[in-house]
Amino acid sequence: MKQSFAQAFMYSPNSGSASIKEEYTITVYTENHIGLLTRISILFSRRKINIESLNTSPSEIPGIHRFNIVIHETEEVVKKLVRQIEKQVEVLKAYYNTNDEIIWQEMALYKVPTSEIAAKAKVERLLRQYGARAVVIRNDYTVFETTGHREETDQLIEVLAPFGLIEFVRSARVAIIKASAGFHEKLREFEQAEPGEEVIENEYLDKQQEVFSM
């Protein structure tokens, strides 16, 4: 009964041991409202859980936002957290998944001196091997880009380090749930039936001189 309840309520076919910490990707569908990022992030900081990666962006449905949050925790903790996230008034739905239930990518940019690249033909071969491509080529530097899992983007840092890597940056994880078709349909119908409202921003920040204040 306990297990069937958990499975009915949460999107998680994983029923492994609850006390082992592993990587979980939390997917949250939300309204696009100011302050919601805080409301979600403080649920983690309140419990002193480190967020490994956080991405927020529009979802495939206009008007609905999507968070991807990666944490390293036990399923028990993640399950309770996801319920607290779902409890937020402006959250539509939250899921948690282990890595084998999702397809995910991170993107990384690498800035390297062009002179080094040009001098050493080996680099070109390496880049091809790691699926990287050049996005900017200037006299002074070149920027490469690659996407992949953490280990893959990490490996390319090591490979490029001897060639004078100047700067490196990696994006948050973006993830797609393998078995998400059902919810996608529901979400689309939901947005069609009741379109989201536009976010209202502060229109007065640049009008200090024009407004009387006391």
Partner: protein, 578 residues
């Protein structure tokens, strides 16, 4: 324009041209059925107070002495009336003074709407005078909050605020309104109450298969046991609950906030749960075979050590908040939903039964507890006065019809253990947060929420000194609140722990008090101090008969302990009688 006490209807107000955002605030509050506001003015909320000036006959405003008093009063109002409490406060310190009350209302699920003034929108983030980031400061302690920067948003946001505060599992909501939005003129189309927010599910869908599974477990149980919490009161499900208890014949024990949902003298009301709860209800938690938790959240003060809590029992958990299921105690059968809906479904399916021998075990253990603790605490006959005897006498003189508001500490545990109640919404206390200073302002609000009932605040000498400035509110507005200070010249609960667990190292619990009766007299409130048992009954009677507020200070035993007690880190069955 409708009268202030009329309930909100859809589209109750007519379009009005060219009015200020502040007037929209007031008109929206009236349309939501608000009748009383507790508040304190200041620079950033002045336009709203200016609009209030013209509506004073419809919207009663109680000027408190500190914003914390305003929100506790609004909580007291909500708890006795079942309506949403409303608070006004200004920006900066006015708003930050609300934080304790917001946290209290959040953890105790109290519906409150706070309207705070904010600096002009163009000044946000400039460290303007009395600017503070109220939305982010209050995010963790509000069910929802929102900053309004344009008057056109006001009515809809207030509608949402009331809907969110009162629906589902209730809670506090804060609406921060910048001053430009308050003074901005708009055409107001009328206020429409909110009935739905697309991303918000106040109640989970009731699933019959789980109700059936729960009924099956109950019908097969030999020693079933009900734990009930405030959910029964918040769901207005007292009669549905009583019907369930009576048909199933199952003994029922209450959490601190569930108190008064079932009359004290009901034959199946077996007493209080938790650290200072009754002996039987704690011990027998670990002997029942099916535990039915209704509208309660298995707080650590109720469960003690979780790995020694009801391990033998199958657990049925009824709750409106899905996040509470499995949070602390794993449910064998979860019954999501509003207990007003789920209880009748369950009552239908359970067999009519009597568990005579099982109920008798609670009674036998109550007798043991009486011998060991209660008889002496409530009727000591000689020696120093006890807190219990004050409550016991109060029960006799009020016949259990009073609203009792308590603060936090020993007096709270004693009052909740021994006070008798005939009707629901009679017990107002700070449960989850344990906010000292809660009782005096909450009692003021409780009186406005239940104007025809006697309201008695029972407060310790420590807690009273945290918010005693609210005597000024009583003085000015004449709230008929009876105040009993149980003075043991100590911060008694901390002292008790220091005595029991820290070898009597009384570190800063010896608190000196002013002459409370003279303080009250300074506020033109009558009172007296009782130092001798022979004057206690007459003193209580004088207080209850007095027209208007009255303060009775009772000097009780300095080093008395509240028992029974489940020591921290112990299981409920390890409860100590002494």
């Amino acid at each position: 324009m409708e009268v202030a006490t009329a309930p909100a209807k859809a589209n109750t107000t007519q379009p009005i041209m060219n009015i200020t955002g502040s007037e929209v605030v007031i008109r929206s509050l009236l349309a939501e059925g608000a009748s009383t506001v507790f508040g304190y003015p200041g620079g950033a909320i002045m336009p709203i107070y200016d609009a209030l000036y013209d509506f004073n006959d419809q919207l009663q405003h109680i000027l408190v002495r500190h914003e914390q008093g305003a929100i506790h009063a609004a909580q007291g109002f909500a708890r006795t009336s079942g309506k949403t409490g409303v608070v006004f406060a200004t920006s900066g310190p006015g708003a930050t003074n609300l934080v304790t009350g917001l946290a209290d209302a959040m953890i105790d699920s109290t519906p409150v709407v706070c309207i705070t003034g904010q600096v002009f929108a163009h000044l946000l983030g400039t460290d303007a005078f009395q600017e503070t980031d109220v939305i982010n400061i209050t995010a963790p302690v509000t069910k929802w909050n929102y900053q309004v920067t344009d008057a056109s948003e006001i009515s809809e946001v207030i509608a949402k605020a009331f809907y969110i505060a009162a629906s589902g599992r209730p809670g506090p909501v804060l609406v921060d309104i910048t001053k430009n939005a308050q003074v901005q003129k708009i055409d107001f189309a009328g206020h429409t109450p909110c009935k739905h927010i697309r991303s918000y599910r106040p109640k989970p869908q009731v699933r019959n298969e789980f109700v059936e599974a729960a009924a099956k477990l109950i019908n097969e149980a030999e020693r079933p046991y009900i734990l009930f919490g405030q959910g029964v009161i918040l769901g207005n499900a007292e009669s549905e609950f009583k019907a369930f208890v009576e048909k199933s014949g199952i003994p029922a024990a209450w959490t601190l906030l569930g108190l008064s949902a079932l009359p004290t003298d009901h034959p199946l009301n077996v007493g209080m749960l938790g650290m200072h709860g009754n002996y039987g209800p704690n011990v027998l938690t670990n002997e029942c075979d099916v535990l039915i938790a209704i509208g309660m959240r298995f707080d650590d003060r109720v469960t003690g050590r979780l790995d020694k809590y009801a391990k033998q029992a199958k657990i049925i958990h009824l709750d409106i908040d899905p996040a509470e299921i499995d949070k602390n105690v794993k449910a064998t059968v979860p019954v999501w939903g509003d207990c007003k809906e789920t209880l009748p479904l369950l009552t239908n399916l359970v067999a009519q039964k009597q568990h005579t021998a099982w109920v008798q075990r609670f009674r036998d253990m109550m007798d043991e507890e009486k011998q060991a603790v209660i008889n002496h605490e409530c009727d000591p006959k000689s020696g120093e006065m006890t807190m219990g005897e004050v409550i016991n006498l109060l029960n006799r003189l009020t016949n259990g019809d009073a609203v009792i508001v308590t603060d936090v500490g020993q007096h709270q545990m004693v009052a909740c253990r021994y006070a008798t109640f005939n009707q629901s919404r009679s017990n107002v206390t700070s449960g989850g947060l344990g906010t000292m200073g809660f009782a005096l302002p909450a009692a003021i609000g409780a009186k406005y929420g239940a104007p025809n009932r006697p309201v008695v605040a029972v407060i310790g000498d420590g807690g009273f000194q945290m918010t005693l400035q609210e005597l000024g509110t009583i003085m000015q507005f004449g709230a008929d609140v009876k105040i009993i200070i149980l003075n043991n010249n100590f911060l008694g609960m901390v002292r008790q722990w220091q005595e029991l667990f820290l070898e009597k190292r009384y570190s800063f619990v010896d608190i000196t008090s002013p002459d409370f009766v003279q303080v009250a007299k300074g506020y033109y409130i009558d009172g007296q101090r009782i130092t001798d048992r022979s004057h206690l009954e007459a003193g209580l009677q004088t207080m209850l008969n007095h027209k208007g507020s009255y303060l009775l200070e009772v000097m009780v035993a300095k080093e008395n302990n509240v028992f029974p007690m489940v020591p921290q880190g112990c299981g409920v069955a390890e409860i100590r009688l002494k």
